[in-house]
């Protein structure tokens, strides 16, 4: 560790001249360091994501509190948190721009990411039902933390309190879930189990292969539409004067749309359940399943595609923007996991694959955009903006052929 710190220190001293060029303000530089601090744990957790989130399987005789602390401690000493911490320490030592409150903010950011990631993992592991309230809470967190960087633009001493609030919020929620919520699946109350059963989505009533078919059709259709939207934005929306408005609208849109979707879906589900009780015909299931799929994918994937392409079109260079964009993706796909948990067939491994297929190219784009020099980055952004939907299309193409061979489902395409 000592050797690592020495090497990191030398690297940081060299990095300082890179991060703090003559034409770069201290606020921008600090923002870049914070971007790294925030994105690094996310990247690690995304690239090394394992569906089995439990470090300690629930068969061992330890209390929930012990388990929580062990898992947190294990995470915090891991490379995903140690590296940015050492880097920040080194920069604090070597740089005149970087003050103690910047460092304190970085530590807070690290703790916030740690708590947030563990919060999501915990919720997944314990199969806590994702609800509109949770979505609203996540929205609030994301918007607040995004606001610090995007609307304040600079991180000042007084904003530490604000960050502390965000970190405290994440930590409190995490600890609440860790200690007071159910320990394992078997710890779930009867009421929660009944809720899980009631919330099974309509496709679960269909045979498995048809369900896959629906999923693939929907994903492919949405990808096509997302591509069209992307092209439109690339062509039309390059007016820099609108950047501020567009930035706030498009960035926050994915967050706000999800709670709306949850409420909308609640109504659709109720209608479907009523129909389900009165009709047993398969075509009723199929029709409502199709509606469900569209509702599921449209607000999520279209928003994400548009946001990504929009970033490319307007050539935003603020690293913090990409950090939060990536966080948005990570959070969104955790939402997908929540939804998958309502699925009685337990598609965990399949979701994991999908997660990697989608998130990894996005993460790769993110890395390229951060570390490639600005001029080349702009070109790369334009090119790479098409990679995500094309990749998604290709990865699903084989399944699409299978789908097309089932005539009864062609009508839903």
């Amino acid at each position: 560790m000592l050797l690592f710190m020495v090497v990191a220190g030398y690297a940081a001293s060299d990095l300082e001249s890179t991060l703090f060029p003559a034409d770069c303000t201290s606020a921008q530089a600090v923002q870049m360091i914070d971007a790294f601090t925030m994105c690094w744990p996310f990247l690690f957790n995304i690239l090394l994501y394992r569906a089995k989130t439990d470090l300690i399987p629930p068969i061992y005789p330890i209390t929930t509190r012990e388990k929580t602390f062990v898992e947190i401690a294990y995470d915090l000493v891991g490379i995903e948190y140690a590296v940015p911490l050492v880097l920040n320490l080194s920069i604090l030592y070597f740089s005149a721009y970087y003050r103690w409150y910047n460092f304190a903010a970085a530590v807070l950011l690290l703790l916030t990411s740690c708590f947030l990631i563990n919060l999501l993992k915990l919720a997944l592991e314990r199969k806590i039902l994702f609800s509109g309230y949770f979505a609203l809470a996540a929205t609030g967190w994301a918007c607040l933390s995004a606001g610090v960087f995007f609307f304040g633009a600079r991180l000042e001493q007084e904003q530490l309190l604000f960050l502390l609030l965000i970190g405290g919020w994440a930590a409190a929620t995490f600890l609440f879930l860790a200690w007071f919520e159910t320990q394992t699946v078997a710890r779930e109350s009867g009421a929660l189990t009944r809720r899980l059963e009631k919330n099974l989505h309509p496709l679960s009533m269909l045979p498995i292969h048809r369900k896959e078919v629906f999923r693939n059709i929907a994903v492919t259709s949405v990808t096509r539409i997302g591509l069209l939207f992307s092209m439109y934005f690339l062509y039309n929306d390059s007016d820099q004067s609108q950047a501020s408005f567009s930035k706030s609208v498009f960035f926050i849109l994915p967050y706000t749309s999800y709670p709306i979707y949850v409420n909308l879906w609640g109504h659709v589900r109720d209608v479907w359940l009523i129909l389900q009780q009165s009709h047993e015909e398969k075509n009723v299931h199929a029709a409502f399943s199709a509606v469900y799929r569209r509702l599921t994918f449209y607000p999520l994937l279209i928003d994400l595609s548009i946001t990504l392409i929009w970033v490319a079109a307007l050539k935003i260079t603020a690293p913090a923007y990409y950090v939060y964009l990536l966080s948005a993706y990570a959070m969104f796909y955790s939402f997908g996991y929540f939804k998958s948990l309502l699925d009685p067939y337990n598609y965990k491994s399949q979701h994991q694959t999908t997660f990697r297929r989608i998130i990894m190219p996005v993460a790769a784009l993110f890395c390229i955009n951060l570390y490639v020099p600005l001029a080349e980055r702009l070109v790369l952004l334009d090119v790479s903006a098409f990679v995500f939907p094309v990749f998604l299309f290709l990865s699903k193409n084989a399944r699409l052929v299978e789908a097309a061979q089932i005539p009864s489902f062609r009508s839903f395409i």
Partner: protein, 254 residues
């Protein structure tokens, strides 16, 4: 000496969606018994074991272990159980020693005693002591199974719940497992396990529970199941499960 039930399953039901997996299953395993749970593939054996291990919640019914319920005394119950299950994966990045040390610490085995206990347990199942410091990712299936058993018994449990403990074992290692079972049973331990490998099990199994059509259709001593040893376990099982009117011949249009 009065023998009390160490594991009591009462009217346990579990379904996944509309699929019924366990339907009011009841079963008692007494202290000192070695109970083999058998049944067809997909009959719900693993689901039943997972319920017993408190990994999934049954829709109804109760599980009592040593007169206690998970809801009341989970730590006590987990301390007395040793488990081999898919839900207790080995950590491939660790060496066998690191994994056993990790498990030992979770079971709160005193650190001073842990090293010698790891060495003793490992040496009982592995001939090559250098395997202890090999990474688990380099282990074969059989070695992993042996290591799983080492981890399951490191804290000296009194009840073993084992899901397919013999899968991937060679004949030599299988015999070591059988010998360990005998040793464990001689110390008033209780074993409840599933297996599709029946060779030599009649040496240790005292009771057989047969799960079919979501219910326990047979639960009695091995003597009753094998007609006092006239039949082997797998022959007896086939006879019970095989429906007389069903044609078992190959129906492939090659």
């Amino acid at each position: 000496m009065e023998v009390h039930p160490i594991l009591q399953i009462k009217e346990l039901s579990k379904h996944f969606g509309r699929q019924n997996v366990l339907d009011a299953v009841s079963l008692d395993v007494l202290q000192g018994q070695c109970c083999l749970l058998v049944g067809k593939n997909g009959s719900g054996k693993t689901t039943l074991l997972r319920c017993v291990m408190d990994l999934i919640l049954p829709e109804s019914g109760e599980i009592w272990i040593d007169g206690r319920k998970y809801a009341d005394e989970p730590i006590y119950i987990k301390k007395m159980m040793g488990i081999i299950s898919e839900d207790n994966p080995l950590i491939p990045e660790f060496t066998a020693y690191q994994h056993l040390e990790f498990v030992g610490l979770l079971h709160k085995i005193p650190v001073a005693e842990l090293k010698s206990r790891i060495a003793e347990t490992f040496a009982n199942f592995f001939d090559d002591a250098s395997d202890l410091h090999k990474k688990i990712s380099a282990y074969s299936t059989g070695m992993k199974k042996k290591l799983s058993l080492c981890a399951a018994i490191l804290h000296r449990p009194t009840l073993l719940i084992l899901d397919e403990p013999f899968h991937g074992l060679d004949r030599y290692s299988l015999q070591k497992f059988i010998e360990f079972f005998k040793f464990f049973l001689s110390r008033q331990g209780t074993i409840f396990f599933t297996s599709h490998t029946f060779a030599h099990l009649d040496e240790v199994v005292s009771h057989v529970a047969l799960l079919d059509a979501h219910k326990i259709i047979f639960h009695d001593s091995i003597e009753d199941f094998t007609d006092s040893g006239k039949n082997k376990i797998d022959d007896s099982l086939l006879r019970v499960l095989q429906e007389p009117d069903v044609d078992q011949s190959v129906r492939l249009n090659w």
